[in-house]
């Protein structure tokens, strides 16, 4: 009987002939990703009583959440992380300004087809866009992985999402994600491995695929994966130095469910307050006034996203009533966007540029919301109070929808500007 991606990759890692969903295996992950919470993880690690991390080459540490430090508390936390990095001789440390951990991880060659990656952040599944098995874990567990080099995993059941057709103009991977989350709901893929396939996926850039795997966390997925192809290999060339062998699901694998979707007639989608699965086509929410627009984050802060926004805003100016924040996902993306003139165009249109990092997405700094305000954001979560006030409204949409909305000051269909 055929096996899913998760069953195959975890069997390989566990050194077992074959395994089946539901089974519990112990594996040595290839990478452990941690961010600003490294200081707390390090404190837990010290309580275990082990002097050295099991394998320093496993650790990838990126300071991204509140960078540069917004106050003394954050500064002390960053200081503790830097001290831990020096003490444990961890080479893969990326200090403030490098970018968001989910973007920096693959950029610096720490994600590859067939790799097993765990990270102390719920959007760790992003790296599945490269054919890796990537799952989020908690702080305590991250400390345990540091100490032992191993982790227990329950082999997830799998959901196959088959995307047919092409995407209409100004409709993107983000709209596909939001539509699927609205369909499956916030718990529709709980504990599951989501496999994305089909011609619509093949046509997507690597960056767009990262949007899909990133957003899969919002339907409860343990991990999500896109099968590697030439685009994947071209993206990884010059970044990944070690040999790897892609893992593909068998054609006759057993799935918990298979979802078929034709994207040809898909309209832009918007997630309304206060849950990501509260999704409506843009025609139903158009006209809603917003005070702020955020374009960026680990969901939509890549070059193609900034390009889509600039294409709409170039030579124009945002509405007087709106604040537009641009948050590139990494230094590499910021440099590429500068070279292309995208940043110049966006700033000329009235945008405020933030340094690569998590920015206001988690409500700690750089653009928090006041009571009664509304934001259209390209990020992945609209939980109540996430971006500041509990009495603020967060709408989620694509970069094109965000740019069109910034232009008018009300939620606007990007196909109409």
């Amino acid at each position: 009987m055929g096996k899913t991606f998760a069953e195959k990759v975890l069997a390989q890692k566990a050194g077992l002939q074959q395994i089946t969903a539901g089974q519990i295996v112990t594996v040595k992950p290839d990478r452990l990703l941690t961010h600003d919470n490294t200081s707390a993880i390090a404190a837990t690690f010290r309580k275990i009583g082990v002097a050295r991390v099991a394998d320093p080459s496993m650790n990838v540490i990126v300071l991204d959440h509140v960078t540069p430090a917004a106050n003394e508390t954050y500064a002390i936390s960053h200081q503790a992380t830097r001290a831990f990095v020096a003490e444990q001789e961890i080479a893969a440390f990326y200090d403030i300004g490098e970018g968001i951990c989910h973007q920096v991880l693959p950029e610096k060659g720490h994600a590859w087809p067939g790799a097993v990656i765990v990270g102390s952040d719920s959007h760790t599944p992003t790296a599945g866009a490269f054919g890796a098995f990537a799952a989020g874990i908690g702080r305590t567990e991250a400390a345990a992985v540091m100490a032992t080099g191993e982790i227990w995993l329950r082999v997830p059941e799998s959901i196959r999402v088959q995307l047919h057709g092409t995407l209409p103009a100004r409709v993107s991977a983000k709209d596909v994600s939001l539509y699927l989350i609205g369909l499956l709901r916030a718990d529709g893929a709980d504990y599951c491995s989501v496999e994305f396939a089909g011609e619509a996926i093949n046509a997507m850039s690597v960056g767009e695929r990262m949007t899909l795997t990133n957003m899969s966390a919002e339907m409860g997925a343990k991990n999500a994966v896109v099968e590697p192809d030439e685009k994947t290999l071209a993206w990884l060339a010059g970044r990944v130095t070690q040999p790897f062998a892609p893992v593909y699901a068998d054609a006759d694998a057993t799935y918990a469910s298979v979802i078929e979707m034709d994207t040809t007639t898909l309209a832009p989608q918007v997630a309304c307050p206060h849950t990501v699965d509260n999704v409506a086509p843009i025609t139903e929410v158009a006209g809603k006034r917003v005070d702020q627009v955020l374009i960026g984050t680990c969901t939509n802060g890549r070059l193609e996203d900034l390009r889509a926004a600039a294409e709409i805003l170039r030579g124009k100016h945002i509405a007087r009533s709106v604040r537009l924040l641009i948050l590139p996902a990494s230094r590499e993306i910021l440099q590429a966007a500068l070279a292309e003139g995208i940043i110049t165009d966006l700033i000329a249109a009235g945008a405020t540029l933030l340094n690569p990092g998590c920015g206001p997405c988690l409500g700690a700094h750089q653009g928090c919301l006041a009571p009664g305000e509304a934001v259209l954001s390209t990020s992945n979560r609209n939980f109540k109070g996430r971006m500041g006030s509990k009495d603020a409204a967060i709408y989620l949409g694509s970069p094109a929808t965000a740019a069109a909305t910034a232009l008018t000051g009300v939620i606007t269909d990007p196909r109409e500007v």
Partner: protein, 177 residues
């Protein structure tokens, strides 16, 4: 070794419409404005203070109490504090139809019992705040007010071993011996 059968007073988390609360996310459980707090003793007071109708839960709960909710409890971020805050209050177990994937791992690894009652939303109205429950982790049996029996998923082998050891670290020490 800890007891594999517990009993306690139940809190049923209901929403404004009176149904079991679904999709209680980690920001509702432990809001991101408290994420700088790392001392367990300080976490309890903020538990559920961003969940509409349950803002004062921390002041009403007592050690040994049990909590019940609907589907997808603990969805969202990987933050450990959303588990730790219940342990700070001494909550003995959380019962729900399903849990967020990372939340479930965090709770298992911290030794906080999560009880999964499949299809709970179909009969959740039978449970009331103040009910007395007995829960057996090995058999999955849930006994309400000494009379009604419900079947939860029994703990998996690794879940039970971690719980009995106390948490993932104590389990690791046992495993090495």
């Amino acid at each position: 070794m800890k007891a594999t059968q517990i009993s306690g007073r139940l809190w049923v988390l209901r929403d404004a419409e009176g149904g079991l609360y679904n999709d209680i996310d980690t920001d509702m459980i432990f809001h991101n404005r408290y994420l700088h707090i790392t001392a367990l003793a300080q976490m309890g007071q903020y538990t559920l203070d961003n969940l509409k109708g349950w803002e004062d839960f921390a002041r009403r709960a007592q050690a040994g109490d049990l909590i019940m909710a609907g589907r997808n409890f603990g969805s969202g971020s990987s933050r450990q504090q959303a588990v730790d805050c219940f342990q700070a209050l001494g909550i003995a177990a959380i019962i729900a139809e399903s849990f967020g994937a990372i939340y479930k791992r965090n709770a298992i690894n911290s030794g906080l019992p999560l009880i999964t009652l499949p299809r709970l939303s179909q009969y959740g109205e039978q449970f009331q705040t103040g009910d007395s429950l007995v829960v057996n982790f090995v058999t999955g049996e849930v006994l309400r007010n000494g009379v009604e029996r419900f079947q939860a998923q029994p703990f998996s082998k690794v879940q039970l071993a971690i719980y009995e050891a106390g948490n993932l670290f104590e389990y690791g020490k046992v495993a090495e011996k």
